[in-house]
Symmetry: C2
Subunit: 193 residues, 2 copies
DNA sequence: ACTTCTACTGAACGGCCAGTCACACTATAC
DNA sequence: GTATAGTGTGACTGGCCGTTCAGTAGAAGT
């Protein structure tokens, strides 16, 4: 089976994706997911015979790949400048639920089987870090951006995206507003221009 | 009782602090903590009659306050410049286990009682964000630093510290080395000088 | 000598969890 | 009208969880 396009299965995935992203693997029970959908927990096994882990792996994979595609399109559609690309990346993350990469790597992935863990770990780097790193390297080739470590810079941008969400929760502002607050800090640094 | 200075209790706290910080509240069981100490799980209730939650709240509180003191001393001992203070802050975080603030706020705290949750939430901001914010405001008054939003900048620095740990895990380098990689990015931004 | 305190144990409790399975209810297809 | 496939249910199991509690062994106090 390549991919069943059942509407019911799709609904299960959507609910699971939201809950897992919010609370993490261990803190979400199958009963939580079922309740959200108005069905019994046993029914989830019809759509995902592999149980909780299969469900988690499926939606996490899908979510990560959606981030890769979204990031690549956002960057591609943003024009040439470092600032425009960076704004597009931050706007992408600001308009989606926060991705807690540290929690994934430290808490969620260790709770699943090793083969799944390894695949998801690689995928996470591939989908979240690499698109940003590629963008930064491209910008440097075009003469923009200093001689910073692009790997660290990519992780810093990811972290800044999480800082935007944290700040939004603390202040009640919209994440997308805060992108314009974050941009000058990332571009020109704390020392200002 | 103000504070029992039992060595055994201290050992329990140390083990619990390490495990909770690594994996989060839900993912750590009392049996994990007891095993680490070579004792039975029931024995933990001798030192912490309040059970898992009391243990978690106690060590989290202690850990947060240690961060506040460490940060304030690091900043105070670093000299006047923005760069020196920032280096001290990053070095402090680099030489301690990573603090996953997002996981705390989103996954750990919602699992404990509301009164504890509220107190720990305030404490987390007070111990992690505020010292950095105060430092940035002081630097600005002395004429250093641009007109950036200090609340966001403080969260960005915290996030950068987590990015340092993430990078260390990915590359195998020591976190304290990576501080010098992170500093120019934070000070001068991605655009370079 | 006895009591008291500290540190810990073993066994059990109820509760929630993931997972299993036989069964029921639709619809549409033949 | 009957077969068939998609979707969901109720009742259950075994296991791990946090928690409780009576009990113990040794050290310290009196």
């Amino acid at each position: 089976m390549v991919s069943t396009i059942s509407a019911a299965r799709e609904r299960v995935q959507a609910a699971a994706e939201r809950l897992f992203a919010e609370r993490g693997y261990k803190a979400v029970t199958l009963r939580d997911i079922a309740q959200e959908l108005g069905i019994r927990q046993a029914s989830l096994y019809y759509h995902f015979p592999g149980g909780k882990e299969e469900l988690y792996v499926t939606v996490t994979e899908r979510g990560l790949q959606a981030h890769r595609e979204g990031l690549e399109q956002a960057i591609a559609g943003a024009g040439e400048s470092l600032e425009a690309g960076l704004r597009a990346v931050l706007q992408w993350f600001a308009s989606h639920p926060p991705v807690d990469l540290a929690r994934m790597l430290l808490a969620d992935f260790p709770a699943i089987s090793e083969e799944h863990r390894k695949r998801l770990t690689e995928l996470a780097l591939d989908c979240l870090v690499r698109p940003i790193e590629n963008f930064l390297q491209g910008a440097r080739k075009r003469g923009e951006g200093g001689a910073v470590d692009t790997r660290f810079a990519a992780l810093a941008i990811l972290s800044a995206a999480e800082a935007i969400h944290a700040n939004a929760r603390l202040t009640g502002k919209e994440p997308s507003e805060l992108v314009e607050t974050a941009l000058p800090v990332l571009l020109k640094g704390l020392a200002g221009s």
